[in-house]
């Protein structure tokens, strides 16, 4: 039996893993991929110690750090269920089942889907949720970005480097985000913005051919594009966890116990949570790393007190 299983591979999970390794407790981490959302971020300029880096580079450093300590990381295994036993838990994955005294859920967030007709069928066939990965695939083609925040604008500006024409389909009355990106989009002759526009369908048979949307109360419009980048935010990556209490956004509710100097507690004793999957208001890589450390320090206290018969 393990003392701890860490679920996730982003900064919260990795920072916790470094502390757990140094504490020499018996643990492993299970992650679909090492790096999490950080790995697919484009430019990163606010992570302390790295004035100008990007997701691939920064997550590469994270991975080197855990490798230095020989962390047992089951990368590529997907957690399917958490089970509670009388004095332990079982973390079931696509490959195995791990029994453990405690769990730290740090599984982050995943892209929110549009839930319109054609989206699932054309996913990977023109619909993409990772503009950073796939924008260059659409060289010389026309694409649409769905969304109206920073990540949508970031995707549009990246797509502009490769695509002939970029349409932004934004459900809100105006784009919202960093002034510097708003200015660049305003100046661009190849980016067209449709505001107050709700996407209704993604069209295409074998390959994507267009997108349908309704602007205000007007009739539906169709534009011909070969790619659609969905950038409408993120939802907690938490399908496997039926045990802990969530808020209305399906984020794990965490609380602290000031008398016992413990934080990142969930509604289930022995399960801790950290980072973007929780109801912590700030969803930032650096915040997540700190949350991961707070959580694992609480795990140490919990294991210590549990061992003393509390």
């Amino acid at each position: 039996m393990y003392d701890l299983v860490i679920v996730g591979g982003g900064p919260a999970a990795l920072a916790a893993a470094v502390y757990a390794a140094r504490q020499k407790i018996s643990f492993l981490m299970v992650a679909e991929n090492i790096g999490g959302q950080t790995a697919i971020s484009a430019d990163i300029e606010n992570y302390l110690g790295f004035p100008a880096t990007n997701g691939a580079e920064l997550s590469g450093f994270f991975e080197k750090h855990i490798k230095k300590y020989g962390v047992d990381a089951k990368e590529g295994e997907k957690v399917v269920e958490l089970q509670q036993k009388s004095r332990s838990f079982v973390v079931k994955t696509t490959a195995a089942a791990y029994e453990t005294r405690t769990i730290l859920v740090a599984s982050g967030k995943k892209p929110r889907k549009l839930n319109v007709q054609g989206e699932d069928r054309l996913s990977g066939k023109g619909v993409t949720y990772c503009a950073t990965c796939d924008a260059p695939v659409f060289s010389g083609k026309d694409v649409a970005v769905i969304g109206g925040g920073n990540s949508a604008m970031d995707a549009a500006l990246l797509a502009e480097k490769y695509s002939s024409k970029v349409y932004i389909i934004n459900i809100n009355p105006e784009l919202r985000g960093d002034e510097i990106m708003l200015e660049s989009i305003g100046k661009s002759s190849r980016i067209a913005v449709f505001n107050s526009a709700a996407t209704t369908e993604i069209l295409g048979e074998k390959a994507l051919s267009g997108v349908k949307f309704r602007q205000g109360s007007g009739s539906e419009k169709t534009i011909g594009v070969q790619g659609v980048f969905v950038e409408i935010g993120y939802v907690p990556s938490i399908d496997f966890d039926k045990l802990t209490e969530k808020n209305r956004w399906n984020e794990i509710i965490i609380h602290e116990d000031k008398e016992r100097f413990m934080t990142n507690l969930t509604s289930v004793q022995g399960i801790f949570a950290a980072g973007d999957v929780t109801d912590v208001p700030e969803k930032q890589a650096l915040v997540a790393a700190g949350e991961g450390v707070k959580a694992v320090l609480s795990v140490f206290k919990y294991l210590g007190s549990a061992m003393q018969g509390y």
Binding site: A56, G60, K125, V137, A207
Partner: protein, 76 residues
């Protein structure tokens, strides 16, 4: 062995690092700069996302470490 990739894709980077770490030689194809290669990739994998790894005709979509380990008989 071929790796279809784009210059901006973090999972392509990770795939290449993984293969290098395990001393596996591969031919990298940048589909952003080669429309014909992009079409080959779409034909082989039935989709447009990168990376696509062709291991002697067996197609892996994305950085699927477990599948690559299996196909390349990498232990650990």
């Amino acid at each position: 062995m071929q790796v279809y990739s784009t210059p901006t894709c973090p999972w392509c980077q990770k795939t290449k690092e993984f293969l290098k770490e395990n001393s596996i030689s591969f031919h990298e194809i940048n589909v952003a700069a080669d429309q014909k290669a992009l079409q080959h990739m779409v034909d082989k994998s039935g989709q447009m996302g990168v990376p696509v790894i062709d291991v002697d005709g067996q197609i892996v979509v994305g950085f699927d470490k477990q599948m690559l380990k299996k196909l390349l008989k990498i232990s650990g």
